[in-house]
Amino acid sequence: MKQIKTKLATASCALALSIAAITAQADTIKVGVLHSLSGTMAISETTLKDTMLMLIEEQNAKGGLLGKQLEAVVVDPASDWPLFAERARELLERDQVAAIFGTWTSVSRKSVLPVVEELNGLLFYPVQYEGEESSRNVIYTGAAPNQQAIPAVDYLMNELGIERWVLAGTDYVYPRTTNRILEAYLKQMGVAEDDIMINYTPFGHSDWQTIVSDIRRFGSAGKKTAVVSTINGDANVPFYRELGAQGVSAEDIPVIAFSVGEEELSGIDTAPLVGHLAAWNYFMSVDTEENDAFIEKWHDFIGDTNRVTNDPMEAHYIGFNLWVEAVNKAGTTDTEAVQEAIIGVTVPNLTGSYAALMPNHHITKPVLIGEIQADGQFEVVWQTPSTVVGDAWSDYLEGSKDIISDWRKPLLCGNYNVVTKTCSGQSYE
């Protein structure tokens, strides 16, 4: 008798617990947030984690997704590239997240890429990058080189009459590939090899004396010179400080940066930087109703009216809305279904136009060139008349100008060579 009683008791307990567990799991959809909260990239990535938390909170207030509440799973890969892969694996295997919003540097994305492809996860990548990649498991909401680097060089060449170029970057895949593309583009536009100076520095480099002095010397040869900077992370702080200390003003040698936005400027004294440029697809100073509303919501959420918004935040805003709409369209958070449903989804962006997800997993974005003002904001000095479609495979490099990416059936290929009519890389035959 006693044995039967204890057996019944344990069985009912187990049943109750498992029901609780199942219902608890079934009640939330987990969303992974994979951004560095410490280390050299924390200066840029911490604010993206907060943006995701804000977007998830807002969606939950609207009733969640598919009737369930969203739950953010935040991990810290600490600017350590192999750790990014480990954390991504944790998010997909242990936490079973429906989508990951994260990474910043291309090396962190490249570390995570094999993991999301192996475990069939979905990564939303919010930062401008070098292209030469198109994965079925990644949605690229950041700018491809033809949506940032090439228009920036066009602006310098045509509007400012720049004839000599310094390409300065941090030593990893994004600046190296971008500079390859830019060098090829410049040479195609007739710039001589002597008029191009290329320079790489390690992450966190702090002694810029020689390099800034070389830039000054290169720039005083009589032709108008500009610096195209792909320097990433907190090395930007001593770089701009040295520019200011050595008196390199924007009217003499303008520096246009691709990885410096409002967030990176908020920690430094911007007085010596006034007039230097940046190329993005969004600036906090853009005057639209959607942008005003977004900034107000952000200030309410973060509790500080001095905090700034920037382009990667807008990219997460677009990416999150694309994902929500695709999930609603597909009726499930299953990766395969979302991948099919998401192509063609169009959501409004914060600068007054629309972002449509193209078959190559890139979106349409306008290109804005802005000048740094004394208060750390950017003043738009030029923009493309309409949005530009992101091109994953650069038309200026030998190896990639014949390649397209199309993730719709029947092609389903990220590296399709239109000349040899073959598909390579991640393919679904």
Binding site: S38, G204, T210, E251, G275, E371
Partner: protein, 542 residues
Amino acid sequence: MICRIMRQLRSLGLLTLILLSSLTSLQAADSDPVLAEFEALLSSSAAPDRARAISLLADSMHPDTLSLLAELLEGQLYTFRGDSHLYRVPRHEEGRAAERLLDGETLTIERVRDFRRVAVNNAQRTQIRRVMALTGLNAESSAIRLQAVRQLMRDADSATIALIQDAYPTEENNRVRELMAVALAIHTLADSDNEVLQRDAIDTLSESLEPRARNSLAQFAQSTENPALQELSQRALTQIDHKVQFYKGLETLYFGISLGSVLVLAAIGLTITFGVMGVINMAHGELIMIGAYTTFVIQQLMPDHIGLSIFVAIPAAFVVSGLVGIAIERGVIRFLYGRPLETLLATFGISLVLQQAVRSIFSPLNRTVETPGWMSGMLEFNPVFAITLNRLYIILFCFLVFFALLLILKRTALGLQVRAVSQNRAMARAMGVRSERVDMLTFGLGSGVAGIAGVALSQITNVGPNLGQSYIIDSFMVVVFGGVGNLWGTLVAGMTLGIATKLVEPWTGAVLAKILVLVFIIFFIQKKPRGLFPQRGRAAED
């Protein structure tokens, strides 16, 4: 019929509109149609309109032209959303006053976002500076006149050259005269056909180190058809190039010394602890970081006296890092003497603890440490050689710290005891020196010096929890290269490594230069394992 009536009504309406607007404008701008048009053009978002606004103000000779343009440049002019007028806003905060440009009426700022700053882009900034330079030619201060000539040289058309020619005879300041002569010579070389004038111009330009002078000579040498003049200009170019090379070498030397001084500052505390006690302190970098954070905290506590903050931070950082060092010695290292491997591991663990403590107390993000006014700026010797002031002060500071330490070690009782203990501990104890107390104070001294190094480093690099990691390897490199326990060795080693890195960097880039220096040290250690200036004496052989 109806059409005619409509037309008459329309013209009547137009007339009243004109009357009304002229009435209001008479009320608003007593004497200033110029200001009104300036305001209208500036509120347009089209760049050509803004450029016209600036030239309008310049051509109108309005009494307030220069001050208005200066305010526009500084970003002190704002548009108010309420009435679309321009306001002068010295401080863009709630509750502050905003003065309307047209009539001087003041408003209080209720909502910050209602006032939008009138932004200027690079092209407009150049235009404004040019206008200011034209009047600056006749300024009282020679510095302003120099700046004006330099600005006008960028874009010297015949009108500006005429102005400079007018001002040249009456110019008293030598530097300004020289620059004016160069500007006039460049123009002559480009425009004139008279050979005598061109010869004079080439002579003037050959003495100048201005990059524009060299460029105009180079262009002339390429384009001229006169062989004699071509030879002359080529010779002038070679002369200039030799001088430029010389100054470039000086500049590289300066960069090398400044990098060396940073290395010396970081390593000198380690020399003392490593030298005296043979303790490998992996937490040395974190002690530097603590000194840097102390500077940050001091600046937070005295935000209005940034200039003084450095002077307060130096002793504060010495005390804080010294105390942390003493705590480490008493708490951990004391028990591990004679066991170098365990000391290394233990201090490595302590370094991780300190890093995480700083992350938890402050935040994982970098903190901003401001540079005081007296440390910013450059010392210009000539157009090709200028040194940054912050690094100059750090070099001087490094030598100050070095000689202070030398004094302490050579002249004080503590120094005597430290040297005794490091040469022969047993003998020193036999002579009555309390070696344990000396160990503790030595460690404290070394850590305190690391803290002071942190104050200096906070001026040139990011202050974050990872600051220590960037300097620990360099510190050990300097100590091993220079010889353990020898202050002069550290100085020579640090300076040598700094200059060597900077000499190699222009050819190989920053990354490879570091690698080459490390490889060089590895080979050097094979030959001389005890460094440049090894410790001598029988006890040191152990």
